[in-house]
């Protein structure tokens, strides 16, 4: 990836309000590199679409500046930005055939007829719809329409393509297939893609980097694995993947490790991520697959738990336990030969490493 060119997109202290009373986007600072696949992930209403619309030029930023290839674009109208876009409902023009839809951006650019046909054909082949050029969008399935929409956003070779929940209307299987195809296209073409979704799996599987949005603010911007492994705050920890919460107070801090006392008196050691001082309230975040029912001696944390419920899931067993007064404490136990037999109502010893337990900002 060609990083030497500087950022493809830069949001610089951007704020947005529709009504002049509430900020929908608060102080957004974001650099997107050339050729990067960046996903904006967040719950509905968190301001993702608004960011995309500001980037595409359909909504003006209330404050701040947006740069495209280091050029400020606040005063550039949408049709001069050269940004490809895929909409959630595809927005294929119903009165035009698939080929005409694809030719539209080329006609706008006054390309020659032959060149148009060439590019349309190529784009259709890219999305494996070579045969469908003469059909109307209504004669295509949802997945096929989706591919046409992607092809149309790419056919005029934009540097930047925006996609706003493009797979939201597809069923699970198609969605997974399309995720793969879009990813594939991205790798082949090297365009910059800004992708919006509220589906964390989609974000994690497709992206180079993910910006987690909440309440108009980017909570964390990092690669998918970092997002999962090292969440920066409780919101990200909860939003991405499954997560056990334990609330307590910091009693001591030693470098990266802090001691936390829970409400029932249990003392735990945790990775200091988002706490500052002794006496702070904190929420500990702990992935269910990092907890062992056969605790090894090197584990800093060992506690007793009461098994409330067992759910058999084939490759693993989900164990719901009451741990330190939290009855929703989940432990994933691999389904291995010779593993100890569990039964509901049993009290067992569990344990985990301090580095797997993140001391984050308190919730609730």
């Amino acid at each position: 990836m060609t990083t030497e060119r500087g950022a493809s997109v830069r949001f610089d202290k951007v704020q947005k309000s529709y009504d002049g009373e509430t900020l929908v986007v608060k102080d957004l600072n974001l650099d997107i590199k050339h050729g990067e696949f960046l996903t904006m992930l967040g719950p509905s209403g968190s301001g993702k679409t608004t960011c995309l619309m500001m980037l595409a030029g359909f909504e003006p930023a209330s404050h701040g500046e947006i740069f495209l290839n280091d050029r400020p674009i606040n005063n550039v109208p949408p049709h001069k930005r050269g940004v490809g876009m895929v909409f959630q409902n595809y927005a294929l023009f119903p009165h035009m055939s698939v080929a005409e839809n694809l030719a539209f951006p080329l006609q706008v650019r006054s390309l020659g007829k032959a060149e148009q046909q060439e590019k349309v054909k190529h784009a259709l082949e890219m999305v494996e719809l070579g045969e469908f050029g003469s059909r109307r969008p209504a004669q295509l399935s949802g997945g096929q329409q989706q591919r046409v929409a992607v092809a149309r956003a790419l056919v005029f070779d934009p540097d930047l393509v925006l996609m706003d929940e493009p797979l939201g209307a597809l069923d699970k299987q198609l969605r997974e297939q399309m995720q793969y195809e879009i990813k594939h296209i991205h790798e082949n073409l090297g365009v910059t893609i800004v992708y919006v979704t509220h589906d964390q799996t989609e974000a994690l599987t497709m992206s180079d980097r993910v910006a987690v949005f909440n309440d108009g603010v980017i909570q964390q911007l990092s690669s998918p694995d970092a997002l999962y492994e090292t969440p920066q705050n409780s919101f990200v920890a909860q939003f991405i993947g499954e997560n056990n919460k334990l609330s307590g107070t910091v009693t001591a801090i030693n470098d990266n490790i802090c001691d936390v006392r829970l409400a029932d008196g249990t003392e735990l050691k945790a990775d200091k991520v988002n706490v500052n001082a002794v006496g702070d309230n904190t929420t500990l975040s702990l992935r269910p697959e990092r907890i062992e029912i056969a605790a090894v001696d090197s584990m800093e944390n060992r506690v007793k738990g009461h098994i409330e419920e067992l759910i058999y899931l084939g490759d693993h067993i989900r164990v719901r336990m009451n741990v330190a007064g939290n009855p929703e404490f989940i432990v994933k136990v691999r389904n291995r030969a010779g593993e100890q037999k569990l039964a509901e109502g049993q009290d067992i010893q569990i344990g985990w490493f301090a580095s797997d337990c993140k001391a984050l900002d308190p919730v609730g």
Binding site: P78, H79, R81, G84, M85, F87, N89, F93, F104, F156
Partner: protein
């Protein structure tokens, strides 16, 4: 193959009733119910739509009065050659005397007179006058007695008219509606100064097209505005659009007059602004301009409503998509938005055009002489001349014109390309 057909037996229910019979029995009640549900509508359409049109078709060709009232005369006239230029023989006069005596007793002679007067002015008073005398006619030499009652009976034209309209069916109304007449040399156009209907048909079509176009030009931006506004303000504006429906015709007409006449508000304003001179005030009413303005005003909602409901369904993302691909506002509108509104334009145009083709009160009030429609003449024949046969013939022609245009529209635009919402 044959084995199979042999093996196939009729499927039956458990009681041995053939399955198909059983199914249709089960469905019969359902069918009956749906028939009953549509029956009132069907009857309504039959009574209010099919029957009147059939009646109109019939009236435009029927001619029962002459053969019904003057049966003997009609028979007697058969031997007379109307192109000979000679008077009919005495038998015809005798037959007419006999017929008239009966008709006078039944007071129907003046009705025949009125009927024939449509074709040959003067026959109405001829029959009325002669009717008073015929009671006193004596046996013998009826020719002389008729001529004494009124010398017009010596006019061969009168007899030609009677003979021409002596059959119970006539094409005469249609000929008249086409500005034609039957002469000794066959069917010909009437003299130039009596031709009016074809001209009015033409004008009606041209003005209706013009009105349709002005409705599109004015209605399109309004519908666009309405469809892009939030619901609350668009409802308010919609009420304003529908306002013409809620004002009485007379109020509306006076309002137009106050606005449009030469000493009216618009002209006063233009003169005050110095745009037109005081001595060259614009003629905006009592001419075609008046008709176009007034009818556009009335019919505009019929254009706006279908346009609005079509535009409402066009998602704004289409325009955004087009712009994201580099289209300017205008290009995106023209290539992406406009084509999707064509069904609305089609529906609105059909509504406006067909409604305006049948209008007559508004043109009568504001159209002066150059803004009146064919329907004004139809109204004249319904209400004043009582020549319902001619009115019906004109109505049939109007109906045919509309149907031909509809057919053309279907061929060119496609009728499934019409959407009311």
């Amino acid at each position: 193959m044959t084995d199979q057909t042999h093996a196939q037996t009729v499927l039956t229910t458990q009681d041995g009733v053939p399955l198909k019979v059983s199914i249709s029995r089960a469905l019969r009640r359902q069918k009956l119910r749906s028939v009953l549900l549509v029956a009132p509508l069907f009857l309504f359409i039959l009574i209010s739509f099919v029957l009147p049109i059939a009646d109109m078709l019939f009236r435009s060709v029927e001619n029962p009065l002459v053969p019904g009232t003057l049966p003997n005369t009609v028979v007697a006239l058969q031997v007379w050659d109307e192109n000979s230029g000679e008077m009919p023989p005495e038998e015809v006069f005798a037959a007419l005397a006999a017929d008239l005596k009966v008709a006078v007793a039944a007071k129907t002679h003046t009705r025949v007179g009125s009927r024939l007067n449509y074709e040959n002015p003067g026959i109405a008073s001829l029959f009325r006058k002669t009717g008073r005398r015929v009671k006193r006619f004596e046996e013998g030499d009826y020719t002389a007695q008729f001529l004494k009652a009124d010398k017009k009976w010596g006019d061969v034209g009168v007899w030609q008219t009677i003979k021409q309209f002596s059959s119970p069916m006539t094409a005469g109304y249609f000929l008249a509606a086409a500005d034609a007449q039957r002469t000794a040399d066959g069917v010909q156009f009437k003299p130039e100064d009596e031709r009016i209907y074809l001209f009015l048909f033409g004008r009606t079509l041209i003005l209706s097209v013009t009105i349709t176009i002005t409705c599109i030009l004015l209605g399109y931006p309004i519908a666009f505005l309405l469809s892009s506004l939030p619901l609350r303000s668009s409802n308010l504006l919609m009420i304003l659009v529908l306002l013409p429906f809620w004002t009485s015709l007379l109020v509306r007409t006076s309002a137009w007059k106050v606005l449009l006449q030469q000493q009216g508000v618009i002209n006063d304003t233009l003169v005050w602004l110095g745009i037109v001179g005081d001595d060259s005030r614009l003629a905006l009413i009592n001419n075609q301009t008046g008709t176009i303005i007034a009818m556009t005003h009335i019919l505009l909602p019929f254009m706006i409503l279908p346009l609005f409901s079509v535009m409402k369904t066009i998602s704004p993302t289409y325009m955004r998509a087009a712009k994201s691909m580099g289209a300017s506002d205008w290009y995106a509108f023209w290539r992406v938005y406009f084509p999707q509104t064509i069904p609305g334009i089609g529906a609105g145009s059909i509504l406006v055009f067909i409604l305006s083709i049948g209008y007559y009160i508004t043109p009568e009030l504001v159209g002066g002489t150059s803004g009146i429609f064919i329907s004004n003449r139809i109204a004249y024949h319904i209400s004043f001349s009582l020549n319902w046969g001619l009115a019906a013939a004109l109505g049939v022609m109007l109906l045919v014109v509309v149907m031909v245009l509809y057919w053309l529209y279907d061929r060119i635009v496609g009728i499934d390309n019409v959407k009311l919402g």
